[in-house]
Symmetry: C2
Subunit: 327 residues, 2 copies
Amino acid sequence: MHVLITGAAGMIGRKLTERLVTDRGLCGQPVEKLTLVDIVAPSRPAGFSDHVKTRAADLADPGVAEKAVSERPDVIFHLAGVVSGEAELDFDKGYRVNLDGGRALLEAVRKTGDGYKPRVVFSSSMAVYGAPLPHTIPDDFNLTPLTSYGTQKAIVELMLADYTRRGFLEGVGIRLPSIVVRPGKPNKAASGFFSGIIREPLAGQEAVLPVSEAVVHTHASPRSAVGFLIHGAELPREAIEPHVNITMPGVCCTVGEQIEALRRVAGDRVAARIRREPDPLVVRIVDGWPQRLSGKRAIELGFTFEQSFDEIIRVHIDEDIGGKFVS
Amino acid sequence: MHVLITGAAGMIGRKLTERLVTDRGLCGQPVEKLTLVDIVAPSRPAGFSDHVKTRAADLADPGVAEKAVSERPDVIFHLAGVVSGEAELDFDKGYRVNLDGGRALLEAVRKTGDGYKPRVVFSSSMAVYGAPLPHTIPDDFNLTPLTSYGTQKAIVELMLADYTRRGFLEGVGIRLPSIVVRPGKPNKAASGFFSGIIREPLAGQEAVLPVSEAVVHTHASPRSAVGFLIHGAELPREAIEPHVNITMPGVCCTVGEQIEALRRVAGDRVAARIRREPDPLVVRIVDGWPQRLSGKRAIELGFTFEQSFDEIIRVHIDEDIGGKFVS
């Protein structure tokens, strides 16, 4: 089993790589070869003595996608992309990386031909949805993204479905909810506070909450995100087609409930490190985002996720900060 | 007012050109200049002594889209594209013409900059929907096209919405229902029989019906299609954004009801010229198509259409065959 991961240096890419190395298998077969591609060189996974290739390259550049698939990976996890904020700030870069890069990968697979038909698992996003939205978004809801990022994700989803239908590959689009708690430093994404209000207080630092505690959102841990991708790679075709893009479930809760969970898991002193400082711009952006995802189809297909926000916090403590926090 | 029509040599393009020439205006202003582009040279409209440019060119070719918008048309009707059957038979051509051509046009507008912000009316299709479908498709239904054509239309819709949101242009996507009665010769489109079973009998010729009379579909006349496009050009922005792609309404009826309408309008002898000859391939294709479109939003926005299939037949008799048929 040869696995290619694009965007392998990103947070999900690294955790997926670790998981494949730990599991040593995918789809019931041993992983014998890993090809890791990203715009910066992905690090070589520890404890994996088998064949690993890492490459720093841009899929949208001529020849890169062709080279990435030239050794015919059986499963491709296509995670590469620029994030929402960057795609909004740099229009050309967003379309180039998120649309042209994705299309180049699909085209490279198609043009290989000769019976080559890999499973292609694409990390999409609930950003394909945009306001006005119903209380809970059903699986058959319209795609009306309100960001360039969401537009690019929706476009690659559509192509993935068409390439699958035409028999060029076996696509699965995994529409991720908000992934929290993101480890590492705060970033400037408008959604950053969903992680920040958990991560910084656990690290003994103050976090700023720019929106009301009444804001509702759907979350899953990075561990669940990796699980979604792997389950997407392992599902039988007949369970997926023809509608290959699947909205993932998650924990739907208010920001207030997130904070209550933090208090239960880590105590009052930790939860007190959150400072309320409303930011009208963030309030307006978050207002257009999906709140509750039904995820009904994904649940029926056996995708698993946390059942409470407490669990999501515990995953972060276990997986990212060595089981300890600053109480 | 300068109007650009891409795909101007096609059936809808020709009828739209005629209508603009007859009306002599659009959006309450006189049409002073027409630029007509298609892959074959569009004919110059009769009775329009003002400035008309016609050009045979492919929008996906370098420089063509830039040239088409170089004189800053105020309204662009983007109708160019290859039809469903062709996009399915020739994968590369479909993506090149329908996706790359459309994108090139949007990009040419964006790169003009300098305050240029035309209204761009895009003829999309109900092919953006695909089975399984509800009894009546609501305006907020998922985009799950089951053809490459529908995929390409959905992608350009998404880009149109994003380019509009970013302020590069004022997009309106008009999702057309099935347009009947198409004048001219029978074509090989799977949907061809919807027109054929009306057109051929009225011309004294036999028509083949390849599906059951129970098949339900939503129809509008070419005259209504042109009306949809013009209304799309004239609607105020605030009525359209942010969801700029609008599903049109039409006459929902069974094939049996189409035939009954033909009998009422043209008599038993005409209706008797339809031969039932089921074609399993066509039956299967048609089975995946949308049946009833709600069109609620479009109706609220004032888009007008026929109220019966009888009316659709009469439009064909009046407009395309000189008011007479072979009884």
